[in-house]
């Protein structure tokens, strides 16, 4: 079927993109001033020229650029992203350890933003003179203009000193004991503030988009047809109109995944959330190049996977889409 063909094409194309990401990063690192050997030596507390030369030899840093690149890439296809100088573990291991926390944050924030944004947008479109319309307009302005870390910090200040009901840092409370259920609950409890902070940016975007899309759809001829058939107003809104209005929201939400991951980097830092973002900051400050590259690789992979999922969702919602 055309759906499967489209998915296979997208996957093949995604692999090419990943390859390009690898080449770009490797190129950037090799043209950057400074040297990995120096920074490793720095970590060891300084070393003389002989030791540095030995490190170069061991990590293959003396070989030509394309040889290094080829070695790295062939490693990647065996899921070997090299060894972290700083954390002293294979890069794949530490990145995969941190990835689930970031995924949880990113996906939950996206879902929260899409669902509540769409709902707000529908209600605002239904009643153009209502208070919700003003709310959406305000949210849209606030969400675009407020720096995400600032929103997070305001929430922290509020939830520490004004109404201390949510934890403001970390992902787990080590003092909490209990089975899987209790642990999960504790995790979700910690998730609330980071999720809301990250969602706030995108809630603004999606509610505005959903409102515009719904306003257009509600004026469409087929909505009039549905009313003429005697379809109840609620069904007109949530079945006939919404299914048509979802397209633009899904498309934009799909395009935002790279941006949401960027936002997550900041939010993780604000809330000490142990994900890829905090890992990225740590490894950048430590100049741990293999880890940085691993993170970029995996986050691009995540974006590509979500783009493919978006594509599928779009095809399910709108039968008119034949080719991407």
């Amino acid at each position: 079927m055309s759906l499967w063909k489209a998915i296979v094409t997208r996957i093949g194309y995604g692999l090419l993109l990943l390859l390009a990401v690898l080449v770009l990063n490797f190129t950037l690192i090799s043209i950057a001033p400074g040297d990995i050997a120096d920074s490793i030596a720095g970590d060891m507390g300084g070393a003389d020229a002989e030791v540095i030369e030995e490190i170069r030899e061991r990590y293959g840093l003396n070989e030509p650029f394309y040889v290094q690149l080829w070695k790295y890439m062939s490693g990647v296809f065996r899921f070997d992203l090299g060894y972290s100088y700083f954390f002293n573990v294979p890069v794949t291991e530490i990145v995969l350890e941190r990835l689930p926390a970031t995924l949880l944050l990113v996906v939950s924030a996206q879902v929260l933003a899409i669902v509540s944004g769409t709902f707000l947008g529908v209600l605002a479109a239904k009643n153009p003179r209502g208070i919700l319309n003003a709310v959406v307009t305000f949210l849209a302005l606030f969400g675009f203009a407020a720096p995400v870390f600032w929103t997070g910090i305001l929430l922290i200040i509020a939830f520490v000193s004004v109404i201390p009901i949510f934890p403001v840092g970390g992902m787990r409370d080590v003092t909490v004991e209990g089975g899987f259920f209790v642990q999960t609950l504790d995790l979700l409890y910690h998730l609330v503030l980071p999720m809301v902070t990250l969602a706030s940016i995108y809630l603004a975007l999606y509610s505005r988009l959903a409102r515009a899309s719904m306003q257009e759809v509600l004026g469409a001829d087929y909505v009039r047809t549905a009313r003429a058939k005697g379809v109840p107003e609620r069904t007109v809104l949530y079945k006939h109109a919404l299914k048509n209005a979802l397209g633009p929201v899904i498309t934009v939400a799909g395009l935002q995944f790279a941006s949401v991951i960027s936002g997550a980097v900041v939010v993780e830092t604000v809330f000490s959330w142990p994900g890829l973002g905090t890992l990225a900051l740590q490894s950048i400050l430590a100049r741990d190049t293999p880890t940085i590259m691993g993170i970029l690789f995996f986050s691009s992979l995540v974006v590509i996977v979500f783009n493919i999922l978006t594509d599928i969702a779009l095809r399910l919602v709108d039968p008119r889409i034949k080719s991407g």
């Binding site: 469409a220 087929y222 047809t225 003429a228 058939k229 107003e233």
Partner: protein
């Protein structure tokens, strides 16, 4: 016509616009009996479609509002009825098809689903039974391979096919009144004829009353039993089709008839003078005290610009709202 199935009496619809209050329908009265076809003609903006929407209870509010008048379906008053009761009538007792078949079907549902939805809304049918009925409806509007077509999305069908689907949706619950708002304007001439044939066949089969809204006098001549001519929100002439077409009294009606070459009223009208009606329909916010057609009328007299003429009967239940016609009849 002893007992009309649907009667519209003195209906007034006003719109609040930024340019001021506009009287979109001005004391419109119409009636249609079972098994009859009533044609409503006029240029765009004359209130034809608004008449249909007011019958359906779908006047966009805001900015529109049915200010006064009465609409009765088999004696039951529809004006002022609550939303839920009106909703139950729409699609069940009164069906409607629209001008743009290309955009009137929901693009993200199959045509089968869209027909079945109507059936499930108004009758206690299981999803499966409703879908079977939908396929039957597709067959009765003469769509080939209805089982397969029911699974198609609107974008996979041609314009004529889509209009057939619209008719199937409108007739799915066997309504007593079908309102067809310019059902063929967007279609090719050959397809137009097919759709009209289909409407006629279905009507004689089901006994549905049809209100056919069009700007095409030719279609009226071919299909309708009665005709009402509308101009600027008012009915300016109405009566039996034979009477109105053969002896039009209102200058506007005469103009419309002469626009159609094969219609030959008796006595013939001087064609050179009235091959086309000069000017356009005036903005409804700018109507003066006189007859709305006066600025475009070749026969106007002093009275036409000082007061609005009312509908007056001549023999054969033929009604006209025109000072000139009245003067001539009185002579």
């Amino acid at each position: 016509m002893t007992h009309p199935l649907l009667s519209v009496e003195e209906v007034v619809v006003d719109f609040e616009t930024r340019a001021g209050k506009a009287r979109v329908l001005d004391h419109v009265s119409l009636e249609v009996a079972s098994g009859e076809i009533l044609g409503i003609v006029g240029e765009s903006g004359c209130g034809k479609s608004m008449t249909a929407l007011s019958i359906m209870g779908l006047v966009p509010d805001p900015p529109g509002k049915v200010t006064s008048g009465s609409i009765k379906l088999e004696g039951r008053e529809l004006v002022g009825l609550d939303h839920e009761s009106l909703r139950r009538i729409r699609g069940k007792d009164i069906g409607m098809i629209f001008q743009e078949p290309m955009t009137s079907l929901n693009p993200v549902f199959t045509v089968g689903e869209q027909i079945a939805e109507s059936i499930r809304l108004h009758e206690n049918a299981s999803p499966k039974a409703a879908m079977a009925r939908a396929v039957e409806m597709l067959r009765s509007v003469e769509i080939p391979e209805p089982e397969m077509r029911a699974k198609a999305y609107p974008h996979q069908l041609s314009g004529g096919m889509r209009q057939r689907v619209m008719i199937a949706i409108a007739l799915a619950c066997r309504p007593r009144v079908l309102i067809a708002d310019e059902p063929t304007t967007a279609l090719d001439a050959t397809v137009q004829a097919q759709i009209f044939d289909l409407l006629q066949d279905l009507q004689s089969e089901m006994g549905t009353a049809i209100i056919l809204i069009t700007h095409d006098m030719g279609a009226i001549a071919e299909l309708a039993d009665n005709v009402a001519v509308m101009y600027a929100g008012r009915v300016v002439e109405k009566g039996r089709v034979e009477t109105v077409l053969s002896a039009p009294e209102h200058p506007y009606t005469k103009g419309l008839i002469t626009c159609v070459p094969h219609l030959e009223p008796d006595p013939p009208i001087e064609r050179e003078v009235l091959m086309e009606i000069p000017g356009v329909v005036p903005a409804l916010t700018e109507l003066g005290v006189g007859c709305a057609f006066a600025p475009r009328c070749a026969e106007k007299i002093a009275q036409c610009e000082s007061a609005k003429p009312a509908l007056r009967a001549s023999p054969d239940a033929h009604l006209t709202a025109c000072w000139v016609a009245e003067q001539e009849a009185g002579r």
